[in-house]
């Protein structure tokens, strides 16, 4: 199974919170490749695709953050109108629900990936692996 791992951090909605989190990543020289923020009124979850998820996870844990790793699939998008549509169409045809997603632009105007989480990774993989997608591999994330 070709999977990547997403770093997910629980954050209260407070001024300076995102600054603190991104500051820690900068300090550690960890590169952010993509991110998303989901929030309800007073708290949220900030998710990152980074080049070294294991080290990032350990650092956040040491600093007392509430942090977790989540498996996700990355599928390459074609840079043309309807690129995302083509991918999502195939995913939904298989009855797979996308729980959360972000975009990883590997090379501007050349290569981008749709990175998404699902409830059942194994089932998703079985359904999508022969659809002709180019899946993102965690080894591709390292600089």
């Amino acid at each position: 199974m070709k999977l990547v791992e997403i770093l997910s951090i629980f954050a209260e909605n407070r001024p300076g919170k995102l600054e603190k989190i991104t500051g820690l990543l900068a300090e550690e020289g960890i590169n952010i490749l993509g991110f998303s923020i989901a929030s309800v009124k007073d708290f949220g979850v900030i998710k990152f695709l980074v080049d070294d998820v294991e080290r990032a996870y350990q650092r956040f844990k040491e600093r007392g953050f509430t942090v977790a790793k989540l498996p996700a699939f990355g599928i390459e998008l074609v840079d043309k109108p309807g690129g995302l549509y083509e991918v999502v169409k195939k995913i939904s045809k298989k009855g797979i629900n996308i729980e959360s997603a972000l975009v990883y632009v590997a090379e501007t105007r050349k290569r981008a990936f749709f990175v998404f989480e699902v409830e059942d990774p194994q089932n998703t993989w079985d359904n999508l692996k022969d659809e002709g997608f180019n899946f993102l591999d965690s080894s591709q994330l390292k600089a």
Binding site: S8, F10, F43, K47, G64, V67
Partner: protein, 433 residues
């Protein structure tokens, strides 16, 4: 059940003999305050009653109450029933505003209170070979010193650790093989968390057997959590400075309430509004009369603590009555949208929900809005916001069910709410009224 007694003669007195002893002591103490304490003389006269009117312990109901306010009349020495040369120690209560309540002890009082502690410790199974780490605040507060003297009277090795400096607390436990601890429940939770985070294992790295937790009220759920985390039996202990500090009420291994030493205290539970005794089993305010206090006797002191009397005989054999776990101080109670709420009710709900860490805070603001901030257990977070939303909704629903008021629940990171090396401040009231 193991049965151990420090003073079996008194602890196992028959109910009749206990009543007789109470009557004798009560007469004597009423006479003493009437003769020696002008403020009591005045109060008794105003109520039109004399010590000689008392024919049975029950007649105490005709005597006036002593309230916190009485302690500030003729302050600070006015309530002394002994000359100052007989007084050897001052303790004060943690007054939140203004002058602290001043409580005085004679040599005999110190020893008498120490005996109550020694009885209570033996009741829990403690022996002279046990090592007690005393992590309450030494100083004006009664908590540490009074326990200290009692444990020494029993013959335990006492480590006067005091509160705080958790790293050192844990080192002391490891180095000296601490078997018993005395601290607040909120600090015990904190210490337990640090012990777990350090990867230390109860039974292997630390060898605690008993935890005496008091000075704050806490729920059964919190007790269970601490027992699991530290591998100990938790004994609930109750006391207040005005009654000499800890040792007033203490759990025996049978649990189901705390024994109050009736040779030392006359126990009543009253309706705080009417001052009348409540019916058996009803919740009310605990009112205590000191029966053998020398320096500063207090008659029908309103403790502000809410509880019920447990009248059934106790399997431990002691005849001394039990009170239920303290429900809260009548002071702690707050009213939201017309509903009386105790912080303990909220704690009890929270501690029963998976995913909740130890700290919480209740904020009252706006027009009668209640917000409960709850720390999320780090291990519970799986990265998905859906799980957090579900947790928040579950907490909200369960609180609504228990309180009849729907609070706003905010999830916060573990370790961000004020911790509790001492008394945790749980309720912040910013309401505009």
């Amino acid at each position: 059940m193991e049965k151990n007694y420090f003073n079996p003669k008194v602890e196992l007195l028959s109910k009749e003999d206990l009543r007789a002893l109470q009557l004798k002591r009560l007469k004597s103490i009423l006479n003493r305050v009437y003769r020696r304490v002008p403020h009591y003389r005045k109060k008794f006269r105003q109520a039109g009653i004399r010590p000689s009117s008392l024919k049975s312990p029950d007649d105490i109901r005709y005597f006036p109450f002593t309230t916190k306010e009485d302690l500030f009349v003729d302050y600070p020495y006015g309530l002394l029933a002994e000359p100052l040369e007989k007084v050897v120690r001052l303790h004060t209560s943690s007054g939140t505003t203004g002058k602290p309540k001043a409580i005085f002890f004679s040599k005999r009082d110190i020893l008498a209170q120490a005996e109550l502690i020694a009885r209570s410790l033996v009741m829990s199974g403690a022996k002279a070979r046990d090592v007690l780490q005393n992590s309450m605040t030494y100083g004006l507060f009664t908590g540490a010193l009074v326990m200290h003297y009692g444990a020494e009277l029993l013959g335990m090795l006492v480590i006067p650790a005091g509160p705080g400096n958790t790293e050192r607390q844990i080192e002391l436990m490891q180095t000296f093989g601490t078997t018993c601890i005395h601290m607040t429940p909120s600090y015990a939770l904190y210490v337990a968390t640090i012990i777990r985070e350090k990867g230390l294992k109860p039974g292997r790295d630390i060898h605690l057997k008993r935890a005496y937790l008091g000075a704050e009220s806490y729920s059964e759920e919190t007790r269970g959590k601490i027992e699991d985390m530290l591998g100990v039996k938790v004994y609930n202990c109750y006391g207040l400075s005005e009654m000499g500090g800890p040792g007033v009420g203490f759990e025996c291994p049978a649990r189901g309430g705390l024994h109050l030493w009736e040779d030392a205290f006359l126990v009543e539970v009253i309706n705080p509004k009417t001052g009348e005794r409540v019916l058996p089993g009803e919740v009310g305010e605990l009112v205590l009369t000191t029966l053998n206090r020398n320096a500063m006797p207090l008659i029908r002191y309103r403790t502000k603590d809410l509880t019920t009397l447990v009248e059934e005989p106790c399997p431990c054999g002691r005849s001394h009555i039990k009170i239920a776990r303290i429900l809260g101080r009548s002071d702690d109670m707050f009213i939201v949208r017309g509903v009386n709420i105790f912080p303990q009710q909220i704690e009890s709900v929270l501690m029963g929900i998976k995913g909740v860490a130890q700290n919480y805070q209740i904020i009252l603001d706006g027009y009668d809005e209640m917000t409960v901030k709850v720390e999320v257990d780090r291990e519970f977070f799986d990265g998905r916001i859906e799980r957090l939303i579900k947790l928040r909704d579950e907490i909200t629903d369960r609180l609504k069910q228990a309180l009849q008021v729907r609070p706003k629940v905010e999830l916060v990171e573990s370790g961000t709410l004020p911790v509790s090396e001492g008394k945790a401040k749980r309720v912040i009231d910013n309401r505009i009224l």
